[in-house]
Amino acid sequence: MSPETEAGWVPVARLEELDARGRAVVRVGATEIALVTAEGRVFAIQGRCPHRGGPLVRGFVEAGPAIRCPMHGWRFDLETGASDRPARATVYPVRVEGGQISIRL
């Protein structure tokens, strides 16, 4: 078992695996997670919008930093998952070391 795994950190992707916008969808078990780069940092948020299941990885990044779902515009704070809408998204702590992106579930 790696030290990362022992501490609850799960390696999910390398920086060079992110697309041109600094994004990727990863899966940890059955959980789909969107990696999104905003304001020079990588954030991890649940993959699907709690409203109608829109793919947050295709969302619009805004100041905050926040992401807005591409389907119906629900906005989520990338640090906390908070929203003005009647929902909250799950966000995950992210660590980047030596190009390796890890998240803590």
Partner: protein
């Protein structure tokens, strides 16, 4: 566009939807009512609703005492957006089914929308932008007026006019509608507003000044926002389906087919290119979901009507003419 191939696709996708009935049927158990309403619209537009009468009765059974519906059939609190979609399906479905229990359901829904309109003409729903929310009861009232429903007729017409005014007053100088909190690009909200709320007035006798020009400018915006590959909103399948449907009914009512048929054909070709083996996902390459599949079937049904010899056939699929 090869209409025989489209007919074949409609038939195949409809069979798939019926196979997946447990995922949308209220008879099978509690459901997401937005999905149920999407499915009932497919039943209506494929002429199959007579075989699914129990679904309409089940929708009436989960209507709340205030006349509204909740986003899920087993939730207690009514919300406007989904209530209007459900009410519209009950009203249009009952033109064919003719059931007293559904007629009573429609009357209660009218009461609900009259009770929930705000002083400035809007309706609100925390899950949707106010403009989008307002378009739905207005759309329901469009069909109430078009079909001659008598319940509280004068109140309905007054609320309908106030809802239309709220929408008209918020059109931007470029011709589209935007909502900073929900729809910055404006594509989906503009497509919804011109097809579902505004354009019906031109069929109902042009009772509200300014609607013809508002629709013409909104439609021009939609055409301008289309990508070269035929899609709208960065390959958004939902918003492309909305834009194609909106362009069909609005251009037909405006008599603007010459400018809009080519964008419609490009949009439809893009939709067909990005269909999965069964159904559609929210973006190209994504897994199929039933709501998008219902939208896809509905879009194809409306295109068949758009291409039909009867110029009013497509308008009939919005319920604006009997």
């Amino acid at each position: 566009m090869d209409v025989a191939s489209i007919d074949e696709t409609i038939a195949g996708e409809f069979r798939f939807l019926v196979q997946e009935r447990a995922g949308w049927s209220l008879v099978a158990g509690p459901q997401d009512l937005e999905l149920v309403a999407h499915a009932l619209r497919v039943l209506l537009h494929t002429g199959a609703l007579g075989d699914f009468r129990d679904e309409y009765r089940a929708l009436a059974a989960c209507q709340h005492a205030d006349g509204g519906w909740a986003p899920r059939s087993d939730e207690p609190a009514s919300t406007v957006w989904v209530s209007a979609f459900c009410a519209l399906m009950q009203l249009r479905g009952n033109r064919i089914l003719g059931e007293p229990v559904l007629a009573a359901s429609v009357g209660r829904a009218i009461d609900y929308f009259l009770d929930t309109q705000q002083d400035d003409g809007r309706w609100v729903d925390p899950r949707w932008a106010d403009l989008d929310t307002t378009s739905h009861p207005v759309s329901f009232f469009n069909v109430v007026l078009a079909l001659g429903e008598r319940h509280r007729r004068a109140d309905v017409e007054r609320a309908w006019r106030r809802g239309l005014r709220f929408i008209l007053d918020r059109q931007t100088p470029e011709g589209g509608w935007h909502d900073a909190g929900f729809h910055p690009s404006g594509v989906e909200i503009t497509a919804h507003l011109i097809q579902d709320a505004l354009v019906a007035d031109l069929v109902l006798g042009e009772r509200v000044p300014g609607i013809r020009d508002a629709c013409r400018r909104g439609l021009a915006c939609l055409r301008g926002w289309q990508a070269a590959d035929g899609s709208w909103d960065e390959e958004n399948v939902d918003h492309t389906m909305d834009s194609v449907r909106s362009s069909m009914v609005v251009s037909r009512i405006l008599g603007d087919d010459a400018a809009t048929t080519a964008p419609i054909e490009r949009g439809l070709a893009w939709i067909l290119r990005h269909k999965n083996a069964h159904g559609w996902g929210d973006f190209p390459g994504m897994e199929t979901n039933l709501e998008r599949t219902c939208d896809g079937i509905d879009t194809l049904c409306k295109y068949r009507a758009f291409a039909a010899a009867d110029p009013r056939a497509v308008v009939r699929l919005w319920g604006y003419v009997p």
